[in-house]
Amino acid sequence: MSRAEFSRRGKSPRALALFAALLLAACGSAPKPSEPPLRKQALEAESDGARRYARGDYAGAARSFGAAGRLQQSLDDSLAAARNSLHQARAELAQGQAAAALERAQRIGDVEFALEALLLQAQANLALGRPAATQQALAAAATACTADCPQRASLNLLQARAALAERRAPEALGHAEAALKLLQGQDEAAETGNAWRLIAAARLAGGDAAGALPAADAALGIDRQLALPEKIARDWLLIGEIRRKVGAGDTAIAYRRALEVANAAGLAEIAGLAAQALKKINNPKETTR
């Protein structure tokens, strides 16, 4: 190829000009905005808390969320501080410190998180066995939650739990089924598992043991996917209870599975319940005496 042909094709000058233009544009473009170091530190602490929460290290998660909240408060970002406070309360509730979680949730005054704080208060009151306070928090949450609020399903589930705790099985079943309908197609596996478990428990309490079994199986399937040992063990306990009511012969298998899972996960309370149930079905005369 001759030089004339080379220049006629215009490869060299045009490519050079294009390269130079790109280089200038890259050098002249505005630098990527970065967060100030303290805010970045707070966000990293929050992210660390979320990671710990996801792998079940609730004490570590509460510590990280607390540190993130204090940092955000020192930066006068009340919204971020309230968000971290809410996360911290959830971590405390998950590690069984319901009173501390309730106190923290009650201190959250930010409007944006008011509904979530109320739901958390209801959850903590349920754990503390305070039905009146639970109903009060749920009523306030129901008022704050409009028809299409994203927390509607969680509200329904808590209402179902509250109704079940007071032996109002039909009402609990209604709320749980409504929650399940709202959760269809949503990426909320834990809540879907909770809905199935509540449906199973409500049907069992209402005398429909045969209808409760598939719901409990569905809850177990979801909890296995999420790898949550405590819920898996409790699902097996529920399945054992249902099979016992139905009169199925494989009741002991379900209790034994609950016992094995609880022992492997170090869940002494559930292991005790499963062992007691096994003893009860193996020696019915001894236990009825």
């Binding site: 030089r3 998950a94 349920l126 754990a127 079940l164 909320e188 478990r197």
Partner: protein, 313 residues
């Protein structure tokens, strides 16, 4: 015909371009060679210093030599002498010889914890007497991480032994805390019984004052006996407690001298590691790769412990 003339002109132009390109390339190669020679210090005046070390560990030819952290030269040669010692020769920029005193010491240091080893010339106190070319300097090695770990272990081991001894003494069923608590509990029980008896006596004071007074006298005698018992047991108890307190004081005194340096070393190590990580994160281009995470949203879970099952049962 005209086509042939046009082709000749194009070929001639191409040849001219090729010649220019080759000439430019030649000039560029010469410039690079010149730059390398300058960089290698061909035109630079240097001075030679030397020292003798016991071992050539972490010392190698070409290794950087620094003064106050600035690279001023390199190791020119490392040779093993007939007496088993190691002879090291350093090549230093002549300009920087004004910082090297006769009593300067060459120290082998590590860059941070895991960095490469470098030789640092530490000038002496007398800045008026400068070292000459071919001068011999003294040499020392900085403390390694292994040496620090060994020192830490040596300081912690006696403390752990003392703590073990105290724990054993406290847990001893015959002489330790359980026995002391048992004696205290017995004494408290006796006093409690006495108080109960006294209360019952006071309740019936209106109807049987004389009998109560007699009983109270008996109770007082019992109190006397109880107090005597307590009195006889207390000195031994106090002696043991004093012994334990003395032991704890001794350990605290030992710890006061041995723990702070250990903590200081540990703190320095942690601080170094933190600085390395923070420095790496804030250095270009890593800082552009490490972005601040977005605010998180935890997945909803209204029943984390599946308590509804417990209610249903």
């Amino acid at each position: 015909m005209s086509m042939l003339i046009a082709q000749d002109r194009e070929a001639e132009a191409l040849q001219r371009g090729t010649r220019r390109f080759l000439l430019f390339g030649l000039l560029a190669v010469l410039a690079v060679i010149a730059a390398i020679l300058v960089r290698q210090g061909l035109f630079r005046q240097t001075a030679t210093l030397g020292f003798v070390a016991d071992s050539a560990q972490d010392i190698s030819k070409g290794q950087a030599v620094r003064i106050a952290g600035f690279r001023v030269g390199s190791v020119a040669a490392v040779t093993l002498r007939a007496d088993g010692k190691v002879e090291v020769n350093l090549e230093i920029d002549a300009d920087h010889m004004r910082f090297v005193t006769r009593d300067a010491v060459v120290e082998l240091r590590k860059e941070a914890l895991i960095g490469a080893a470098t030789l640092e010339i530490v000038p002496g106190a007398d800045r008026s007497k400068l070292a000459a070319d071919q001068a011999r300097l003294s040499f020392s090695r900085g403390e390694s991480l292994t040496a620090m770990a060994g020192q830490l272990r040596e300081q912690i081991a006696p403390i752990l032994q003392d703590v073990k001894t105290i724990t054993g003494t406290l847990a001893d069923a015959q002489q330790g805390l359980p026995a002391t608590l048992r004696q205290v509990r017995e004494t408290t029980g006796a006093l409690h019984t006495l108080l109960d008896t006294g209360n019952r006596q006071v309740a019936g004071v209106g109807t049987a004052a004389t009998r109560v007074l007699g009983k109270a006298e008996e109770d007082l005698v019992q109190v006397g006996r109880t107090l005597e018992t307590a009195n006889s047991r207390l000195p031994a108890l106090l002696d043991r407690t004093q012994g334990i307190v003395d032991h704890v004081e001794k350990i605290s005194a030992d710890a006061e001298t041995s723990v702070p340096p250990v903590l200081r070393d540990g703190g320095a190590v942690a601080s170094d590691v933190r600085e390395i990580v923070a420095g790496a994160k804030s250095a270009w281009p890593i800082r552009n790769l490490v972005e601040a995470p977005a605010p998180v949203r935890l997945k909803a879970d209204s029943d984390p412990h599946a308590e509804s099952v417990h209610v249903a049962r």
